[in-house]
């Protein structure tokens, strides 16, 4: 029997049948892994409306958008002044490193620096870009209020309690932090003078 068999033909059939089987097995994985991706109702781009006038001067509130925490900060003139003067200590002063840290509304140098449409209201995703913790708001400059949990030349901003990342008052990451990027920003617009639609 074996003498008469065409071995090269047989080998071709083995490889062809085995290969097709492997492709079929791989294709079967698609629906199973696909089912683990976010479901349609989870994905449905939800918008969140928020009235920024409810935030007192100097106050920070954390709201929810698409299940993610979002910071809304009412920055006083004093806090806005803290944005300047430390660009050399920032990883990405102009928010250009990845798409998530800049948005279409960042169309003026001021909007880029303050990372906000209206400089006094900063709206950013509150998840630290290192491993997703929510950073603590430590707005005043220096160590007076925060002790040695912040560096000596602290310009005010956020400190992540999990792994010690620092962000300035425009939520831009400071050199030496384990976090790779600035806090993410999202599309939003002012519907009225104080009513913001996020998403």
């Amino acid at each position: 029997m074996t003498d008469q068999a065409d071995q090269s033909r047989r080998n071709f059939l083995y490889v062809a049948a085995g290969g097709l089987g492997a492709v079929a097995a791989g294709a079967t994985l698609v629906p199973f892994i696909g089912s683990m991706l976010p479901a349609a109702d989870t994905l449905a781009a939800s918008k969140t409306e928020f009235d920024v006038s409810t935030v007192e001067a100097g106050q920070l509130v954390t709201i929810q958008w698409q299940g993610k925490p979002v910071f809304v900060v009412h920055r006083t003139a004093e806090l806005l002044a803290q944005v300047d003067g430390h660009d050399d200590r920032l990883k990405d002063a102009n928010s250009e490193a990845i798409p998530e840290v800049s948005q279409a509304w960042m169309d003026t140098p001021d909007a880029r620096k303050y990372r906000a449409i209206k400089p006094e209201y900063l709206i950013v995703v509150a998840s630290c870009t290192h491993l997703g913790c929510i950073p603590l708001f430590k707005p005043t400059a220096g160590r007076k209020d925060w002790g040695d949990s912040v560096p000596e030349n602290w310009a005010g901003g956020w400190h992540c309690p999990c792994h010690g990342s620092y962000y300035d008052i425009s939520a831009r990451v400071i050199n030496g932090s384990p976090a790779p990027h600035n806090l993410h920003v999202m599309p939003y617009e002012y519907k009225t003078d104080t009513q913001v639609v996020i998403g």
């Binding site: 479901a39 989870t42 929810q64 698409q66 299940g67 925490p69 997703g132 929510i134 976090a179 790779p180």
Partner: protein, 405 residues
């Protein structure tokens, strides 16, 4: 007792259809074990005992546990409330849950002792390389199962622990974000995450049970190492596993249960080490606890992650520190197995054990500048230990090993 049962007609009937008698002989009553095994060889059977306890208590907990992050009228969530109900209202629920939660920690205590034994006496060396590699797979699955299980009570530590670990995958180039989404099932940890972690927490112990079967089979092919680390050939050096080691293991079990029951009944939280206090606060996705740390058995690897300022490097080092265990049998080239006859290796491996404890301590504590440096030095030694092993035979003067025992 066993031989009386084996003489009955019923056993003969079963034996004819399953060959049970031959299996009992080859695996128990005539299975040869070295006669000089010390109490460090108890931890394998203890690990099996804890695995059985975990599966058993888990099955009963699932009768009452509900994996849902939906809010309840009390202001908490269905999952959190169902755990509290198990603790307060379900008959013996408190006992079964504490057995399960303490069991998770004790599983790692026992398995880490088992791994340490293997490293000290060179049990990973030829011909037991594959036995060791299967063991590392078991360790990884155990860590996965523990991580999935920790999310289920839906407390603050559950939630933020899962957030941090799923974000780790984001550091992987190209595929990272995709893998993160597959794990979480949404934009952030939430209800879909809880459901899939529950499913996986049920799956992983079943995988464990199967792979433990493979581990034991591989052991029974190559047979046990012994404290002298030498190959045994003479029949007078061996004793049958049953009754000698079944009894010795049973004694170890009673000793283990003494500790286990003390913790379950009198100190189930173990000062915040076995059950973290923050986990009695319901999950809040808008507030991270001031200090978050994984449970003690994951803290050594957490310190390695934290020791690097670059996210990608930290994640790679953490993955590498576990992956390197797979190649240990091929890094350690000395012909002598047991640390008893390897003075330099003995010093190095004891320092390695201390090093892992230091790593664990650093990972459990709030990060300070001093601890960061200590953690970085400990991380460096962790890797140095493994990379120094191939060079060791070049200058280590081993002591003469005995001919037999």
């Amino acid at each position: 007792m066993l031989d009386k049962i084996m003489k009955t007609d019923l056993f003969a009937w079963i034996d004819k259809r399953t060959d049970a008698g031959a299996i009992i002989k080859s695996q128990l009553t005539e299975y040869p074990a070295p006669k000089n095994l010390n109490y460090m060889w108890n931890f394998g059977s203890l690990a099996l005992l804890v695995l059985v306890l975990q599966i058993l208590t888990g099955i009963f907990l699932v009768m009452y546990y509900k994996p849902s992050a939906e809010a309840t009228f009390g202001g908490f969530t269905v999952a959190f409330d169902s755990v509290e109900r198990i603790m307060r209202d379900v008959n013996f629920g408190w006992l079964i849950r504490y057995m399960h939660a303490v069991g998770a920690s004790m599983f790692f205590v026992v398995v880490y002792m088992h791994i340490g034994r293997g490293m000290y006496y060179g049990s990973f060396k030829a011909p037991r390389e594959l036995l060791w590699i299967i063991g590392v797979v078991i360790l990884l699955i155990m860590q996965g199962a523990a991580f999935f299980g920790y999310l289920l009570p839906w407390g603050q530590m559950s939630f933020w622990g899962a957030t941090v670990i799923t974000n780790l995958f984001g550091a992987i180039p190209v595929l990272g974000e995709y893998i993160g989404q597959v794990l979480v099932g949404g934009f952030a940890v939430g209800d879909p995450t809880l459901n899939r972690f529950f499913s996986l927490h049920y799956l992983f112990p079943l995988l464990l049970a199967a792979i433990v079967g493979g581990h034991i089979h591989a052991l029974h092919v190559v047979h046990s190492n012994n404290p002298e680390g030498i190959d045994l050939h003479k029949p007078e050096e061996m004793i049958p596993f049953h009754p000698y080691y079944t009894l010795k293991d049973a004694f170890g079990v009673s000793f283990f249960l003494l500790f286990y029951c003390y913790i379950v009944f009198f100190n189930p939280q173990m000062g915040g080490y076995f059950i973290e206090v923050d986990n009695y606060v319901p999950a809040n996705n808008l507030q991270t606890p001031a200090h978050i740390a994984p449970v003690w058995y994951l803290t050594p690897w957490y310190t390695i992650l934290r020791s690097f300022e670059s996210k990608l490097l930290g994640v790679a080092a953490m993955g590498g520190s576990l992956a390197i265990l797979f190649v240990l049998p091929f890094l350690c080239k000395s012909a002598v197995r047991s640390a008893r006859y390897r003075p330099v290796y003995k010093m190095m491996v004891i320092m390695f054990f201390i090093d892992v404890i230091v790593l664990g301590y650093c990972g459990h504590s709030a990060p300070t500048a001093t601890l960061k440096v200590v953690g970085q030095i400990a991380t460096a030694y962790y890797f140095l230990f493994f990379f120094a092993l191939p060079l060791l035979p070049k200058f280590e003067k081993t002591k003469p090993v005995p001919e037999g025992i």
